[in-house]
Subunit: 340 residues, 2 copies
DNA sequence: TCCTGTTGTTGAACCGGTTCGATAGTCGTG
DNA sequence: CACGACTATCGAACCGGTTCAACAACAGGA
């Protein structure tokens, strides 16, 4: 491969002149600039990333730490990842995807070795062992997901509390008085997935305020367990006329369940989900849903991260915690209740 | 951050001695080795990745090029990606995930700049513009998916031909004589997704040999189109007693369709799919299926890639094209036919 | 004509590792 | 006791970029 030395020799100038001609960081005569560019072109010169990183302390790579737990819904993760990689590339960065089980060790590895200019963390837990490491790291970071302690971090997440309230209010306004909320599996909560109870607790609170009965249960992440669970719930609460689903697997399984039971949506049962538009489209879910906008969140996190990476001024700005407000996308799966 | 110079000073030795003590590439006295390790520990020394890459021409990073087209099934991709990242990490490599639309340019960028020691390509098209670049690149590469011309490349893929034959044979043995095969959308084929017609043509051929009528149609990737399509097919071919599905979205949509039509599986209709076990589990698909083993394919590709990266001898071995044979996982969704 | 300022270019140093060749020190051997 | 062999360590060079300080050439002004 051609080095900048080769380009310089070919153009008949010094290495430094070649460097300046290519970067434009110093004035170079039109004549020389043309010769250098022509030489670079002729030799198919591409700067060596390692050498550049060493010289500039910039790698133009961002780290993306994602964790895949058995009981979480892997396909949903894809949208977050694409939001990050696509935006990063638009801004001139590549993405190092790290899925190591030991996230803290992985984070330490990529930051200490200076492989990345910044990091995006996903699957944030309430008490996340990666956060102290991130705070101490020389590179800035951004979180997709809300931890217990946000200090010193930029955080982006869906407003799950508001999502819970919107769901309850929507069905309450239609006249429903008894609802079921099916959340993620309990394991997710135990592992620190705070978003589960953020939505749940806000929904319960709002239901109490409105005088609505809300049966809140943990879900399952797999079939056939989740199908059995749904059936069990519909059996257990025959008076419930509305179903809130904060659980992709349950949403995916619901159509089969309602068909099997001869339930019509929304005539017999009103349904609201919470997932991404992509997920809804792919699985055809015919339910109104709160859009969780994973790609937008990933994109926002990267933009803020890159701002901090590139501007010393931005690095000293106060940290932000930004929630995107839940948007209810209607597919007509809710209606005034009729007793089941 | 501490450099190896700091470690050397702390241990009272030269930089080279510190380097040898840490790498073990030359004999170092027990005493000095201990001092160096202690110093490294005390200073939390981690080698700078850029500097090491520059010195050794090894980045310990693999590139993973994946493309996400609108009409393909994104969630399925996740399993491939995890197969690659997890195996790479086991072997000591990190993964640069590149999802750029212009794959050829992206490949050139990461190979020319020496950001990666090797590359895994996914979403291989029949005529893939990335392949000439990969062949000319100094780094080895591996493909997940079969292109028209495999020369000079290691290729890993499911044996889609055999998958088509297995599906047809299985239903033929049970006594079925009229089948429907629903494939991926036609766009996927137009873009060069050869696996679609590899399965389809082999199934058609085998059906001909067996005297079975096979209606082969292109599918859709989204709802509600795919649901409409399924209904249309069942209307159009009322005598068909078996359904072969090489299309994740169609498989996900089928339960609703059969419920709505009052069709029972397998009593009224035998069904065989082709997707990953993970996909089957997540969506509870109650169908027997050919396991497409994306994680295994990703893992195999990485192992071979790393062999070539690390051993000069392996780099000269002949290239391999390896198919994994389709395994039929039974969920009891097939039975001898009864007229619908 | 001399001084000052501007513009374009250069050599050298540096980033932080690895590795080669040389050397000092130790030991066994003839 | 001299010699060679071997071991442990060191200094220097190198990987391929970027950047700083210095300088040459030339213009304009006094």
């Amino acid at each position: 491969m051609a080095t900048i030395g080769d380009v310089a020799r070919e153009a008949g100038v010094s290495r430094s002149t070649a460097s300046y001609a290519l970067s434009g960081k110093r004035p170079i005569s039109e004549e020389v600039r043309r010769r250098v560019l022509a030489a670079a072109e002729a030799l198919a010169y591409t700067p060596n990333a390692g050498a550049r990183a060493l010289a500039t302390s910039q790698t133009k790579v961002l780290g993306l730490l994602a964790q895949f737990h058995e009981d979480e819904f892997a396909p949903a993760m894809m949208q977050y990842i694409l939001g990050v990689t696509d935006t990063a590339r638009d801004l001139g960065y590549d993405t190092l995807l790290v899925t190591e089980a030991d996230g803290a060790r992985a984070l330490r590895r990529i930051t200490d070795s200076r492989m990345v200019d910044g990091v995006v963390l996903m699957n944030i837990a309430q008490e996340d062992s990666r956060l102290p490491i991130l705070r101490a790291a020389p590179q800035p970071g951004a979180l997709v997901g809300l931890p217990g302690d946000c200090s010193g971090l930029d955080v982006f997440d869906l407003d799950f509390e508001e999502a819970g309230r919107v769901m309850v209010d929507h069905l309450h306004r239609l006249g429903h008085r008894e609802l079921i909320l099916i959340s993620q599996p309990e394991h997710v909560v135990e592992r620190g997935g705070a978003y589960v109870w953020r939505l749940r607790d806000a929904a319960l609170e709002r239901a109490r305020q409105r005088g609505v009965t809300l049966h809140a249960v943990y879900g399952e992440s797999r079939q056939p367990a989740v199908g059995r669970l749904l059936n069990g719930l519909l059996d257990a609460y025959p008076a419930a006329t509305g179903l809130l689903i904060n659980n992709e697997a349950a949403a995916a399984a619901l159509p089969s369940v309602t068909y099997a039971r001869g339930l019509r949506v929304p005539e017999d049962l009103s349904v609201i989900g919470r997932y991404s538009a992509e997920f809804a489209a792919t699985f055809s879910l015919p339910y109104s849903f709160i859009e969780s906008a994973p790609d937008r969140l990933g994109s926002m996190a990267v933009r803020q991260l890159v701002r901090r990476v590139e501007s010393p001024a931005a690095r000293n700005e106060p940290f932000v915690v930004r929630f995107i407000s839940p948007e209810l996308v209607s597919f007509g799966s809710t209606a005034p209740p009729r007793p089941r």
